[in-house]
Symmetry: C2
DNA sequence: AAAATGATTGAACACTTATTCAACTATAAT
DNA sequence: ATTATAGTTGAATAAGTGTTCAATCATTTT
């Protein structure tokens, strides 16, 4: 490390064998990005609650807003994000739009994470 | 909605029965917050990769930095966040600090999310 | 046709956050 | 002791994000 700036780590101490072994097992960059993005979408309290609510019942925007104590606008913005990630689907009925979960995996993800969060330390 | 501002949704159309039924099933606010926070921590590409790497092997900071193509500093900052969330633990050996996963649940969460991400549309 | 309502949207704002840089600590080697 | 190195830390910066507000769309009702 002679250079002024801190370079991408090239120090003598790295265990090259271990590193290359792990490197092989790493998923492709694109997969990692999607993994991170999925977690990120679930990682906002409003969206977390929306998804949890929808795992119980199909609901319209207004119901969700009422349930969370949020404005329709805020909920709608978040629903758009969930829609883009294909986590929720919707059904129009007159003026109203009913949302529901589009993916069973997410429910499993939630139960698994809940188990983690609810376990006593 | 006579008021000028858009109030917390109190529209006539809400299905009160449905809403209160779901409300009962909702987890406490604190649980929701922790759920969201957990997902959020997993929802950054750098941290996602760190956790995935540590699920394969115990690694020192320098190895992780090398593996991800990031600086030690950036990795160290993220490791602190993971430490605070009790997702990783560490072990000192001379100058080096070896990190490993502190929680088995996380591995399950990852496989579940990977299954979701890797499935064909 | 006009009014009302559920829902969506874009812009603005405040807030958060990840990385970089530089300084620093602690341990090991010379 | 001095030097080198693994790692941590705080401040600064740039990028991203969630909510609010106002305007708008679409459908229904009068």
């Amino acid at each position: 490390m002679q250079k002024g700036k801190e370079e991408i780590c090239e120090i003598a101490y790295i265990d090259r064998k271990k590193v290359s072994s792990v490197k092989k097992k790493m998923k492709p960059e694109a997969t990692m990005q999607r993994l991170a993005e999925t977690f990120k979408v679930l990682g906002d309290p409003t969206r977390t609650k929306i998804i949890f609510a929808l795992s119980q019942e199909e609901l319209c925007v207004c119901d969700i807003a009422n349930l969370l104590g949020a404005t329709k606008s805020a909920v709608s913005h978040q629903l758009r994000i969930l829609r883009n990630m294909r986590l929720v689907k919707y059904r129009k009925e007159g003026k109203m739009v009913f949302y529901s979960l589009d993916d069973d995996h997410i429910t499993n993800l939630f139960s698994e994470c809940l188990r983690h969060v609810e376990e006593d330390d």
